[in-house]
Symmetry: C2
């Protein structure tokens, strides 16, 4: 089955979670799973899962459950993870290095083709099969190599805000944004996923504090 164009947006938004979950089952060697077991493990209702998965063919057989590998591959194909897109990383400090080393980019549809840092001590060093280049070279690199995604693991400075403008001009279409700079406000056409680590930490702080009072 090829990707169905008419999947409702709320289902689309749940797909990364299904994909991640089925990937874990696949790694564990699970062949088949019932919608009720999947619902128990995922914390969704079984009818929700049946409805969602019916949107693209289902792969469920009454009494046999879902074929884990087929479903994983199908959702992966809808998400486009086999259509590898090029990504660059701006910032090879602690966070950037962790992202470069920790993430299996190819599993999520990306290949890291360039890493940049403004620290001369890092430039020229190797990280995940890339030689770290000066950040100022990133726009030129983008014009030559046409990456789609820029991963921003840098501090929230004016220079970074200016670099974002240059990257957009050089053809970057999406940002995985670990900074607190609001890219979407200025560029509504660009895809942005913000990861605000401190927001989740301070939420826990608030919850624990409410307990204490």
């Amino acid at each position: 089955m090829s990707a169905n164009k008419y999947i409702p947006l709320p289902v689309i938004k749940r797909l990364p979670r299904y994909h991640r979950f089925l990937g874990m089952l696949k790694e564990k060697g699970v062949d088949r799973i019932s919608s009720s077991e999947l619902s128990r493990q995922m914390g969704l209702t079984a009818s929700q899962i049946r409805q969602d998965l019916n949107c693209f063919g289902g792969f469920g057989q009454q009494g046999y459950g879902y074929n884990v590998v087929m479903l994983y591959d199908e959702i992966g194909s809808i998400l486009g993870v086999n259509n590898i897109k090029k990504a660059i990383l701006i910032g090879a400090g602690n966070l950037g290095q962790a992202i470069a080393r920790h993430m299996t980019f190819s599993k999520w549809g990306f290949e890291l083709i360039g890493i940049f840092d403004e620290n001369p001590a890092l430039q020229g060093k190797e990280l995940r099969n890339n030689i770290i280049m000066p950040t100022a070279d990133a726009p030129d690199f983008c014009e030559k190599n046409s990456p789609d995604l820029a991963i921003l693991c840098v501090p929230n400075t004016e220079e970074v805000a200016e670099m974002i403008e240059k990257l957009v001009e050089s053809g970057i279409k999406a940002f995985w944004n670990f900074t607190h700079i609001d890219i979407k406000a200025k560029h509504p056409e660009i895809y942005v996923e913000n990861v605000h680590l401190s927001d989740s930490l301070v939420t826990l702080c608030y919850q624990l504090n409410s307990d204490i009072e």
Copy 2:
């Protein structure tokens, strides 16, 4: 003004963002900001901001705008960031090391008092003023030192699922969870913030892919 107990939940959920934003203004040396300027920068409506900030006194003066430092401190006090709570980190691999080095824990209400890893090559090494200890020692450490929060930067294994059970038994009240293990399903009373990095990456993959098709 002391923390107001009757702040509506939707406002509470926006507080980390206000706090982060005001912190950035404070660092830039901005003394006062109008609700319209704050709204422009934060992408919220000015009336939304006035309503939100009125919930805890406001600190706005007609024609003068908000006092950035006072508002930052007040929101920080509601969030409890000055009431430092103890945290431990499980997993000192790439991601754990980045989290330990990258996050200014004290700014978000926490102190990192113990770091654990099951890799003997890491044990005994120093990381952010902590000597890395064997993961198996974590439950004992929790019983003796009563941390509130455990940060999980480990793979999604059965052993980690078992360790989570032991940590809950040893008094851990909150998890900052970088694994894909669903802690809340088994422990609804525990505070959990999940950070699923791959979900946001694969969302970008999907969006870029829809463009291509």
